[in-house]
């Protein structure tokens, strides 16, 4: 039902919920095509000059007020997430730019096989589209976000020229690369949405501070507040920050009519719209859809399939860290984006599991980060403390394992019966188990990472078999497909149940591949927006 509470705003053509990676891309595309677009964002604009990386307290800030975990950050604009039934905690940022504010900006693409896992490997489902269907949108997104990298990777199809050369590998990076070459295993410089040279308006080249896990003072790390949003605003789009959506509203026929929300001053408001695009991530979007039940959608909006909130996929991360005998000053250069290996990406059934994994090469950071464990256990306190710090500081490198996590219906986001945000809106609850296939992938990757570090000459090797705070990649909770019985949206991101409702975030993923998902999320968002422009002019007022 349409809410009668609060004040009413002018009806817009498209109401976008969320101003992050996908919401920004869709808003820019549609506003440039002449649609009247408004975005509601629960967070706020960020000022890069005030990011924590310039503060002497940056180590503390990264664990608290600037943590990627909303349960630790606890800003007013964050919502709590019940993670007591999940070994992995979702991480995200709420603000203009969304999680691209705190992401690492590692931006590999899906492989062609990732869209056809049922046909190729007999597991999960095929996507209703192919790599070729997305390729032009990948290219468009690379151009806006700005990609450092280089063509010629034998593990991936040929692609268009990158906007900038790769980020430098460093002598520390070469230490790992030499080991991969000695083992005869693939490696390639990463595609990164981090400027290796000036690119984009007001955006400097990376100055190798190391902390690409924080907001970027240099504006070298791409985030959608720096590129898509200026374009969107220039073409007339509107964004309201501090706007927390309570529910998507519908009329008696079940058509979406806008959203009820609480504005930054605490007033209950309604924004009416001729269509709604959900871009609130793979946790936030199912939460809102489930909070939007009505007479016409009794189980939640767009949930006739019962699959809203089901099939949650993370990429459960393992981390293997090696300590080398010499100080290589491993705090210089991006923490996590300079190179990758996809030697074990495609299915080889002799390994005992299907699908595969990517290694993302990692550096390390300063002494407090090292002392507190970095990617492994904290350094012991007491008499051995200084000796151990001296061994690890400047000498630690890592291999992060990103394995393909296949969809399972029992991995879910639903509404917590008790927990709410500060406006009383039911909060999400995660129920997630790492599957045997994912566990087998991770174990295989851990053993091979040991070989890499032994070959490279590491003296100590540490293993975190499953990183708790690694739920960056939130996927699958409103999957796309051709059949309304077993999917929530069609191949264009349009709801099967509500023809003026679209979803453009990671919720729509059918499978998760074994790479960071953001370029794919953004390419899908651009494709959906392009579909609306070409097929849904009826949504214009």
């Amino acid at each position: 039902m349409t809410s009668n509470k609060g004040s009413r705003e002018e009806t817009v053509d498209v109401l976008v919920i969320g101003a992050g990676a996908s919401g920004a891309a869709a808003t820019a595309w549609l506003s440039e095509a002449g649609f009247k677009v408004k975005c509601l964002e629960q967070g706020f604009w960020q000022d890069p000059s005030k990011y924590a990386s310039t503060s002497p307290d940056y180590e503390f800030e990264a664990l608290t007020n600037w943590s990627s975990d909303p349960n630790k950050r606890q800003r007013d604009e964050d919502y709590p997430i019940n993670v007591s039934d999940s070994p992995v905690s979702p991480v995200m940022f709420n603000g203009v730019g969304g999680s691209t504010i705190l992401w690492s900006a590692h931006t590999p693409r899906f492989h062609p096989s990732d869209f056809s896992v049922k046909s190729l490997d007999g597991v999960a489902d095929d996507w209703p589209l192919s790599y070729e269907d997305l390729e032009e949108y990948y290219d468009l997104n690379d151009e806006v976000m700005g990609c450092s990298g280089i063509n010629g990777d034998p593990a991936n199809p040929p692609r268009s020229p990158r906007q900038m050369p790769p980020l430098p590998l460093g002598s520390d990076g070469m230490r790992l690369i030499d080991a991969f070459e000695e083992l005869g295993w693939h490696w390639w410089p990463s595609d990164s949405y981090i400027n290796s040279q000036r690119y984009g308006e007001g955006r400097d080249a990376c100055n190798f501070c190391g902390h690409n896990n924080m907001g970027c003072y240099q504006r070298a790390k791409s985030s959608t507040d720096l590129n898509y949003w200026p374009r969107a605003l220039k073409s007339g789009a509107e964004i309201e920050t501090g706007a927390r959506v309570r529910r998507i509203t519908t009329d008696k026929s079940g058509t979406a009519t806008g959203a009820d929300y609480i504005d930054s001053k605490g007033n209950e408001r309604h924004q009416s719209a001729r269509s709604v695009i959900m871009a609130a991530n793979g946790v936030g979007t199912p939460r809102l859809l489930l909070n939007s039940s009505s007479d016409s959608h009794p189980d939640g909006l767009s949930n006739s399939s019962g699959l809203v909130g089901k099939n949650l996929m993370f990429h459960p991360f393992a981390m293997v860290t090696g300590v080398f005998p010499e100080n290589m000053k491993t705090w210089r250069g991006p923490l996590s984006n300079f190179a990758m290996s996809q030697e074990f990406y495609e299915t080889d059934e002799s390994r005992g599991f299907v699908r595969g994994y990517t290694y993302q090469f990692q550096r390390s950071l300063g002494p407090a980060w090292i002392a507190n464990g970095g990617f492994t256990d904290p350094i012991p306190w007491g008499e051995d403390h200084h000796t151990e710090l001296s061994k690890r500081f400047g000498s630690m490198m890592g291999l992060a394992v990103i394995g393909e996590d296949l969809p399972e219906i029992h991995n879910t986001v639903d509404l917590d019966p008790e927990l709410t945000d500060s406006d009383g809106i039911p909060a999400p609850r995660i129920n997630y188990t790492v599957s045997k296939n994912s566990r087998d992938q991770l174990d295989h990757a851990i053993e091979n990472a040991r070989k890499v570090f032994e070959t490279a000459g590491a003296t100590d090797i540490y293993v975190d078999p499953l990183m708790r705070q690694s739920g960056w990649h939130l996927m699958g909770t409103a999957r796309m497909g051709n059949d309304p019985v077993d999917s929530v949206v069609d191949k264009w991101g349009q709801s099967h149940d509500v023809d003026n409702l679209f979803i453009v975030d990671g919720s729509v993923f059918v499978t998760g591949a074994a790479v960071n998902p953001t370029p794919t999320i953004q390419a899908l968002a651009l494709r959906t927006a392009d579909y609306i422009v070409s097929h849904r002019q009826d949504l214009k007022g």
């Binding site: 492989h111 460093g170 003072y217 250069g333």
Partner: protein, 145 residues
Amino acid sequence: MTININVDENVMTAILDRLIPAVDNLPSAGQMGFTSEIVRLAGQQDRFKAIFNNAMHLFESHNPEFTSLASAEQDDALRRFEAESPDLFGALRTISYIVYYKDPKVHERIGWDGRTPQPDGNKMEPWDESVLENIRKREPFWRKA
């Protein structure tokens, strides 16, 4: 929400002395005067402040004579706390390490320039395409769908 920090700073100082002992020309962390900075920093976020308060109050309640114990007994008390309340102990250890490694004298000893990450960043050798010589010889092996 405002939470006042109300801990016995002598206990925190004694804890610091055991967590990070003297090394080379540097005294132990408590004797370097970091306690007040720890209390200040812990107050910068309500969530952390509450954890810090809980940790200190629980530790003090279980170890009312901590400051007068011998060093080995203090270590035993800390190990018990670490085993019984790992998250709370972890909060004390985390902030102790953060504050210790902010200090210029510590930076000098470990050979770290100690700058904040920005605005100056670091220097690196530029990208060198010749490193791709070997891997470029490999035939494409991605799987066609």
